[in-house]
């Protein structure tokens, strides 16, 4: 929101520099985002009067002018729209204009030129009726030699303030003036808002009747009438003020309503009385079939959630948002009805969003205009009508409020306030701060009694007053306080989150295997689903859709980590990274049903991936085995059912106790690799962290080490391709019986000589706790192993 220094000075004396004032406002909660000096492009630009225009001796398109700027100077120009006697803006050497031009003395085709005449674009002027392309022609009463900033009333300083949502009362010049008063201790100036009504018997009630259908949505509506209206341009000072805060001047009546909006924060509206059917204003919700053509030349379909100002037959304003063309004030307007109303902020906010229109009026109403402000706004508007002689004010006002809102008295506790702040503020500072904020206060021992103005709806409890005090008193008070951390609090025992803590240890392990952690978006494109070959029959198909996405690429919640990872792999491959290992800890979002009626399951997953020549399925298997080793679980590996993995080079990890799938890993499905444009030699794995965090840590019970020699033997067998290593080792284990200690495969050999069979070489170790095994005993075991392998797996000794 913008306010200007001069405008503020109408309300309070300010002897701070603009920068000092901005600092004070920022440090008390009204952040000044920008200080704009209106004259920043107008330095060294003055009013000049053209005395003489002569042809340029060497150029047809140029003329040589004598200009009076307090002294007579010579300027060469190509301008066409000037004549002798015109007063124009003259930029002199040293000027830096709005369009970036820097002015210096120069010679144009051999003739000296000591400056330049300016157009409105070069000056940054927006409010001008003349030819926008030519030189700006000033009014006749402009003073020769005067700074142009002063002549154009562009010598103000504008503050762009970020008003927080809890302070709608600061959305106005008077609101900011109140804050300055509290900050500087200077009182507000008394305002003269007087006006005279016209000398006739009429009363506003002869003109108009106001009916409010829903007082919750419109707690207050004040209407006044002005007749014999002379619609014309507003005076320069008023237009200049509006322009300075970014509002376009229209005509005197509309400008007055906008002026009041900026000055007091009360949005107003003016109707052309002759277009109000039935001489009746009805504040009601629209019906579903109604439409309105508004001042921005758009037509909106209304519905019954939208509050409107209507006449007997039709909506004439979308309440608090924008007026209709059908009743707006025009040059032909004879009589106008002025509206100063209060609308429910939530309703305005909803409607504004629905139709997509935000105006200065909406900006105030949706933050909350309180219902004590309307009379003041109306008073100021009528005062301006009177001052500008814009029409005859009819006696009386229609005010729909039944009970005038009153300021509330609160009793606060000083000790509680100081306890919350952790610092003490002297009583007289407390009183000064509050009284200057307009909160009449007194202190009796611990009691702080405050009469809180109605417009300070945000003040209700000790904490609210604490904030008012500390923000004005200054947060610097904390700068030098150095207490022990949390010394005022009870002793509590710190505790990690089990999933995060587990994830951390697994992450560290992955790092030591050369994996780097990534952070991917958990929202993705719905197309990823097809790329992963997920079809309707798959539970991963049901993705939650964001109702208002900013882009379709991130319009859905992922149901697997795989697409995030594959997209990141693709990104890296296309950015000249060709060998890498990555992992991510994140969530997938599985809805119980769609559309959502309850929160989805959010599952924490560890996903990991490798694009490395040296990595294959068995490297990943080793990584998984090691990651799972610390848990008290036993699992089986079965060929994976994950549609995005290679059917024959992948595994699901199945918990034996519950039958649940803890995770999966393997080579990426060739089609998926193609879809994501990644290497077909990409390996991917995922583990369910929620499941793992529910598992116990593995418990160990250490066995004694046998005193007798361990016996190692190697055997090589030939078997069919589909006999698995697991089957062989299981068989060996069983055959060894009590003597079994360990067995492992150390070589698998395939050759055409073996007739589509494979040779598997394994070693096994036998152990006896109570004696040295004899050759005979060992040979018996070997014999049994071979017999069993042959019988069960049709495997023979090689």
């Amino acid at each position: 929101m913008k306010v200007t220094l001069k405008w503020l000075k109408d309300f309070i004396d300010i002897d701070l520099t603009p920068e000092e004032l901005a600092n004070k406002l920022t440090n008390s909660g009204n952040e000044v985002e920008e200080i704009i000096y209106q004259d920043r492009f107008l330095k060294h630009v003055v009013v000049g009067k053209i005395l003489d225009i002569q042809k340029h001796p060497n150029a047809d398109k140029l003329v040589v002018c004598k200009v009076d700027i307090g002294e007579i100077i010579q300027i060469v120009t190509a301008a066409k729209n000037i004549k002798v006697g015109d007063k124009v803006p003259v930029s002199l050497p040293g000027a830096d204009l709005a369009n970036g031009i820097h002015i210096e003395k120069s010679k144009l085709r051999g003739v000296e030129s000591n400056g330049m005449f300016c157009s409105i674009e070069e000056l940054g002027v927006t409010d001008y009726d003349g030819d926008a392309n030519g030189i700006m022609i000033l009014d006749d009463d402009a003073v020769i030699g005067e700074d142009i900033a002063k002549a154009l009333l562009m010598d103000d300083v504008i503050f762009d303030i970020n008003v927080t949502a809890n302070r709608p009362d600061c959305m106005s010049v008077i609101g900011i003036a109140h804050e300055i008063s509290a900050l500087t201790g200077k009182p507000l100036k008394k305002q003269d808002l007087s006006y005279e009504t016209c000398d006739c018997d009429e009363d506003v009630s002869n003109y108009i009747n106001v009916v409010v259908k829903d007082e919750k949505l419109c707690p207050r509506y004040i209407a006044c009438a002005v007749k014999d209206v002379k619609i014309e341009k507003s005076p320069r000072w008023l237009r200049a003020r509006l322009v300075s805060v970014g509002i376009k001047p229209i005509n005197n009546i509309v400008d007055i309503t906008n002026y009041v909006l900026v000055e007091y924060g009360q949005p107003m509206h003016a109707f052309d009385y002759d277009y109000i059917d039935g001489k009746q204003i009805i504040v009601r919700s629209a019906t579903d079939s109604e439409k309105i053509l508004t001042l921005n030349h758009n037509t909106y379909d209304l519905d019954n959630s939208m509050l409107c100002i209507c006449d007997k037959n039709k909506p004439i304003v979308i309440a608090g948002i924008i007026g209709g063309m059908n009743s707006c004030v025009e040059p032909t307007t004879k009589t106008t009805i002025l509206e100063s109303a209060c609308f429910d902020r939530a309703s305005i906010r909803r409607t504004s969003r629905k139709i997509g229109v935000r105006t200065d009026s909406t900006a105030r109403f949706e933050k909350g205009v309180d219902c004590s402000l309307q009379p003041l706004g109306m008073k100021r508007a009528l005062n301006l009508v009177y001052k500008l002689n814009a029409g005859k004010i009819i006696k009386g006002e229609i005010d729909t409020i039944k009970e005038i809102p009153k300021d509330k008295t609160f009793k606060f506790s000083l000790s509680k306030i100081f306890k919350l702040l952790g610092v003490t503020i002297p009583n007289n500072d407390v009183l000064n701060i509050l009284n200057n904020l307009g909160i009449k206060s007194s202190i009796k021992e611990d009691d702080l009694e405050c009469l809180v103005p109605y417009y300070r709806q945000d003040i209700e409890c000790d904490a609210d007053i604490a904030e008012e005090l500390i923000r004005i008193y200054g947060y610097e008070v904390y700068d030098n306080i150095d207490a022990k951390p949390l010394s005022g609090t009870s002793v509590t025992i710190g505790k990690h989150d089990s999933v995060l803590y587990l994830a951390r240890s697994l992450k560290q392990q992955l790092c030591s295997y050369g994996f780097y952690e990534t952070v991917n978006f958990s929202i993705c494109s719905v197309n990823d689903r097809d790329k992963l070959l997920i079809d309707e029959t798959n539970h991963l198909y049901n993705m939650i859709k964001i109702a208002n996405p900013i882009s379709e690429d991130i319009g859905y919640l992922r149901t697997t980590m795989a697409n995030s990872m594959f997209n990141t792999v693709a990104y890296n491959l296309s950015h000249k990274n060709d060998e890498f290992r990555l992992f991510e800890v994140g969530r997938v979002y599985l809805p119980k049903q769609l559309p959502l009626t309850e929160l989805p399951d959010e599952i924490n997953i560890l996903s990991f991936c490798s694009v490395c020549k040296r990595d294959d399925f068995f490297v990943f298997k080793g990584v998984v085995e090691n990651l799972l080793r610390d848990f008290d679980i036993s699992y089986d590996l079965v060929y994976s059912s994950k549609c995005y993995l290679h059917k024959g080079i992948s595994a699901d990890i199945i918990d034996k106790k519950t039958g649940k799938c803890i995770g999966s890993f393997g080579k990426v499905h060739p089609k998926v690799a193609e879809n994501f444009d990644i290497s077909p030699n990409t390996y991917y794995g995922e583990l369910n962290l929620d499941f793992l965090s529910s598992c116990q840590e593995k418990k160990h019970s250490v066995q004694p080490i046998s005193k007798y020699p361990y016996v190692d033997r190697d055997l090589a067998i030939v078997c069919d391709e589909d006999v698995t290593v697991k089957q062989i080792l299981d068989c060996v284990k069983k055959s060894c019986g009590k003597l079994y200690y360990s067995a492992k495969v150390f070589d698998i050999y395939r050759s055409s000589e073996l007739n589509n069979k494979k040779s598997v070489a394994f070693s096994f170790r036998l152990e006896s706790k109570d004696k040295t095994l004899t050759d005979d005993e060992i040979n018996q075991v070997v014999h049994k192993i071979l017999k069993d392998l042959e019988f069960k797996l049709k495997a023979v000794l090689r």
Binding site: I481, T489, H496, Q508, Y516
Partner: protein, 339 residues
């Protein structure tokens, strides 16, 4: 005899001393001490000597034999050592060749900061809690004193799923869940992902927050300040100072923005802090009594403070990351810089 022995001895000594090779040394040993060796032959020739002189001559020869044996042994040790040295010299490797162990990966800079914050807070008695990212409007807004259609909702553009289910726009939602499930006094922190419909050079639609909440009987803004000072010192160094500026959040009162002295210039002013000497790092405040009451905590008895830094920003400041987007592109050229 004596002369013969002495001559043999000095001859042997010379040969042994000059010997540079184990094989030659062995030849010398055979030459003198072998079965047909010169010394051995002398012993054999004893029978030709007078009986009386025999013991003396035997002694003489034996001591010569011992001396030669000793000398050979010494040289043998020396030569063995020399051979070993030569062998090792030949086996020398180029130690600048690459290692054969897989090079370690790294934790993402974002999570390095998360982990530091979590560890610091757990050590200060905080319980780490997480909450759902797909959240009810109630926990994300209403119970935090932001009713439907409240102007404060404009402070953040929220992704909605349905009318009352949304992508949480702040980890403060976990505050509410904590207050409703735990009995004060308690201290909690909640790290996690948050979402806003905002995407530009300084805003990511997915970002990360670290929410902290303390509810107890005597909590004041001084506790808030000292706690945050401690946390930020841990991240940015012991000389870090912080300051408060007034702000507004619906769920805290008073509310503050917290600035820390710029870790780059230490508060002198530089390009990174736009010459202010400070960096805006997080929002904080005393828990609004209304929020306590809404979650069933007696605000007459208990007060609390809350804070919520954006962790992406902290990670950027800590690691001088020039562009927010680098954090989520996961380019290896970025990740490898965390080594």
């Amino acid at each position: 005899m004596l002369e013969q022995v002495q001559s043999l001895l000095s001859q042997a000594k010379k040969q042994i001393e000059e010997c540079q090779d184990l094989k030659v040394l062995n030849d010398i040993r055979v030459e003198y001490l072998g079965k047909q060796g010169k010394i051995t032959n002398l012993l054999h020739s004893m029978k030709d000597i007078d009986k009386e002189e025999r013991p003396k001559a035997g002694q003489l020869i034996n001591s010569a034999r011992q001396e030669i044996e000793g000398l050979i042994k010494d040289v043998q040790i020396k030569l063995n050592e020399k051979v070993l040295e030569e062998k090792m010299a030949n086996e020398k490797v180029d130690i600048s060749e690459p290692s054969k162990v897989i090079e370690k990966g790294e934790i993402h800079p974002l999570h390095k900061v998360f982990d530091k914050l979590i560890d610091a807070c757990v050590s200060m008695g905080f319980t780490v809690l997480t909450g759902p990212e797909v959240e009810y409007d109630y926990y994300n807004f209403e119970a935090l004193n932001v009713p439907k259609d409240h102007p404060a909702r404009d402070m953040q553009d929220t992704f909605f799923i349905t009318d009352n289910i949304l992508m949480r726009s702040q980890t403060s939602s976990v505050q509410v869940r904590a207050m409703q499930s735990m009995k004060p006094p308690f201290k909690i922190v909640s790290p996690g992902r948050t979402y806003r419909a905002d995407s530009d050079a300084t805003h990511s639609p997915v970002f990360h927050q670290f929410e902290g909440l303390v509810v107890d009987k005597n909590v004041s803004m001084v506790d808030l300040k000292s706690m945050l000072t401690q946390l930020l010192k841990m991240l940015f160094g012991e000389n870090t100072k912080i300051r408060f500026r007034p702000s507004y959040f619906p769920f805290t009162e008073p509310s503050v923005e917290v600035d820390a002295t710029c870790p780059s210039c230490g508060g002198k002013g530089c390009r990174l802090c736009k010459n202010t000497g400070y960096m805006e790092l997080l929002g904080a405040g005393m828990v609004n009594p209304k929020v306590l009451e809404m979650s069933g905590i007696d605000s007459n008895q208990y007060t609390g403070f809350a804070f919520g830094p954006g962790v992406d920003r902290l990670a950027m400041v800590v690691n001088k990351i020039p562009d927010l987007r680098m954090m989520f592109e996961n380019d290896m050229k970025f990740l490898e810089q965390m080594k």
